[in-house]
Symmetry: none
Subunit: 419 residues, 2 copies
């Protein structure tokens, strides 16, 4: 049987437009990847009557209901209460959740209120979805042939709760196995990739191929459905190899979490250390590297040189270069990377300098003019960038950080630094 899914989001902040419903987008992507059909997104506010009507409607037309939001104390656990009511279930205390709430209060020294304990109430017969990313637990139950999964609203909780808690639950509902592999690419646009693959994508049915664009990177997800994991993998692997061969050095990994993760793994594998010297990215490259736990094994540190004095004083960039070429230049990018390598005592150093906007710099360099560099034992390489189009500060910084990390992963993999 083919499942019909409704995503029901509860939150007045969505109806006021304070935030976009990115939870629904994330869930839709994930559910599609599981082979489940999402037919409706519904949003209601923190209003019991309208929430109740929405749940009743969802129950009448969908056989999987996934809710987001309305779980914490500020909304009186609206979603949980309404679902229990509509499905005729009592709320019962979940002992382990009670303990977790008490632990949390003890460790943080925050006073416990009646509100906090309400979070440990779940509809009877529920599977509790332990929330390691926030305080309100989720839960799942089945009633009258309808599966209900409740997830917290904050995206930083909803995403991991979906992937680590809801997906295993949902996988049990689908017949056979759905497996997928994700190729990560950097250096090709989504439309270029899609144009190359469009005919093939349309012709494929199992496995299927789906491209995603993500902040200047691209992903290609290959998904297969089969009676067993082995059969699914047998369908997937030849396709993955074919795509890797086709896109060559543009593929930076398969089933890897991020470019920075690949760089750190490459450093560990080769026993090398890394440092950074950042101007336009202002700490973003270091921040991304240290987002990954275990980074301290190979990442020594960085310098955010937002002024010429710091470039000269801390990184040792010659004043003459700064005067002659300006901070946004190939020679300064080179000197920053080499200076960081020396000052931080690391094997490899990455540098960034450029104009992130909103205005041109005092030498008239346009917004989006960027240089990233890598200093390595075998020499220094600079990649000039012209990130034009519709330049937005945040996007320019993200793209520049991608490019710097791309230099490192290419160097570490022994690939040509430029295509």
């Amino acid at each position: 049987m083919s499942h019909k899914v409704e995503i029901l989001s509860v939150g007045t902040e969505l109806l006021l437009g304070s935030i976009a419903n990115t939870d629904a987008q994330m869930l839709s992507q994930g559910l599609s990847a599981l082979g489940l059909n999402v037919f409706w997104h519904t949003v209601v506010g923190d209003n019991p009557q309208r929430a109740r009507e929405a749940v009743e409607l969802a129950r009448s037309r969908a056989d999987i209901i996934i809710t987001t939001g309305g779980l914490g104390p500020t909304c009186d656990d609206l979603t949980k209460n309404v679902l229990a009511e509509v499905f005729g279930k009592k709320l019962v205390y979940h002992q382990e959740s009670l303990e977790r709430i008490k632990d949390y209060a003890r460790v943080t020294g925050r006073p416990l209120t009646e509100n906090n304990f309400q979070q440990a109430l779940v509809p009877e017969g529920s599977t509790v979805l332990v929330n390691d990313w926030g305080s309100a637990p989720g839960c799942a139950f089945e009633a009258d042939g309808v599966h209900v999964i409740m997830l917290p609203g904050p995206p930083s909780e909803c995403r991991p709760m979906f992937h680590h808690r809801a997906v295993p639950y949902l996988q049990a509902l689908s017949e056979g196995v759905i497996a997928s592999h994700t190729l990560k690419l950097f250096g090709i646009g989504e439309s270029a990739m899609e144009a190359q693959l469009r005919d093939e994508m349309n012709a494929m049915s199992n496995p299927t191929l789906a491209p995603y664009a993500k902040e200047g990177e691209c992903e290609l997800r290959v998904t297969a459905k089969a009676p067993t994991q082995e059969e699914a993998q047998a369908l997937l692997l030849p396709k993955v190899e074919e795509l890797k061969a086709r896109f060559g050095a543009l593929v930076y990994g398969v089933d890897v979490p991020s470019l920075e993760y690949v760089v750190l793994e490459g450093l560990k594998a080769r026993g090398l250390t890394l440092g950074t010297a950042e101007s336009c990215t202002g700490g973003l490259i270091a921040k991304r590297l240290t987002d990954v736990s275990g980074a301290s094994q190979v990442f020594r540190g960085g310098v955010v040189s937002y002024t010429n004095e710091v470039k000269h004083g801390v990184l040792g960039v010659p004043q003459a270069l700064l005067d002659q070429y300006g901070a946004v230049s190939e020679p300064v990018a080179r000197a920053m990377a080499e200076g960081a390598r020396q000052a931080l005592g690391c094997d490899l150093a990455l540098a960034s300098t450029g104009v992130a906007g909103p205005d041109r710099d005092d030498r008239g360099n346009e917004v989006g003019t960027m240089f990233v560099a890598i200093a390595a034992p075998d020499g220094t390489h600079v990649r000039p960038l012209h990130l034009g189009g519709r330049p937005v500060r945040g996007r320019l910084r993200t793209q520049t950080a991608h490019h710097a990390l791309d230099l490192a992963r290419r160097w570490l993999s022994g690939l040509p630094l430029e295509d």
Copy 2:
């Protein structure tokens, strides 16, 4: 009469998660500003039956329906056909739109097809909303006491079509305006804040008060409805002042985008410069400060000292302190801030050191043990943190960065550094 609005979005790409429903967010913001209450967001795919059911439901519960998407030739003008059908209206050619379509084809040299002419069909009695930002016109009509407005789906068309075409139409329907102010707080938990305000929130009707939690910060939004902007502000401002007085130093700003923004504005106002020395936050504080354009006026730079060698070599932290107390300690946090102040030549410097996890450090400090410090002309202050509970690397880093920035904004505002 108070209006009830439903935003109905038609598009399979939303249900697949290819894009987020930013149209609904933009419309919700704009409609709230007009004093119109958005009670539902609904998304269905390019499927006539489900679209018809959604329109029938919307007609039964809302008195203003705003649709996005499903207007162009690629979806057979699904939305327009379904709305005409449900409201029992014939489709008639709109002469001016026909001319525009012919003009457009002539100018671009594109051949005209039957599909193109279909775009000039509108439900009889409609007001046509001329689309100067794309090809498919929008339209609006009123039937059985329900107002229907159809807008194109691409955000680059939906936004101007809403502001320049739909708003004038809607203004005639709305009574009064809705205005709001948002207080931003740091240093109080969402449940604690909510417990303090619950009775008041329940008792208030105009203005209303709504709390939001956001990555370790809290927001309080006060919203009022009144016939004019002036009357709305007169309802809001006394409440805002009362809340500011009640939460005191916990309030870091009203209608401000972020803590880092407040810190940068404080620095500019006082003509001071800032630098950072980051260990556990790994560049996050610098990254957040430089996310804000214009940061370079007052932010000089930072050092990410992820190893003791960098703490000693670049920041000048005495080796004896590192040996005696370890990197995660009050004396090292102090020395890092003072060292950054000197090395970067800035008036104020922030430092962070701690255990972000997933494991304890080699001295046995628990995950979540953190120190943030500020070095200033009048001395150095260290705030020790025990961020326990369910420690998640990303959240610990975010919280630690909040605390460091909080020290800076308190110092800059002349507030006590600790409550």
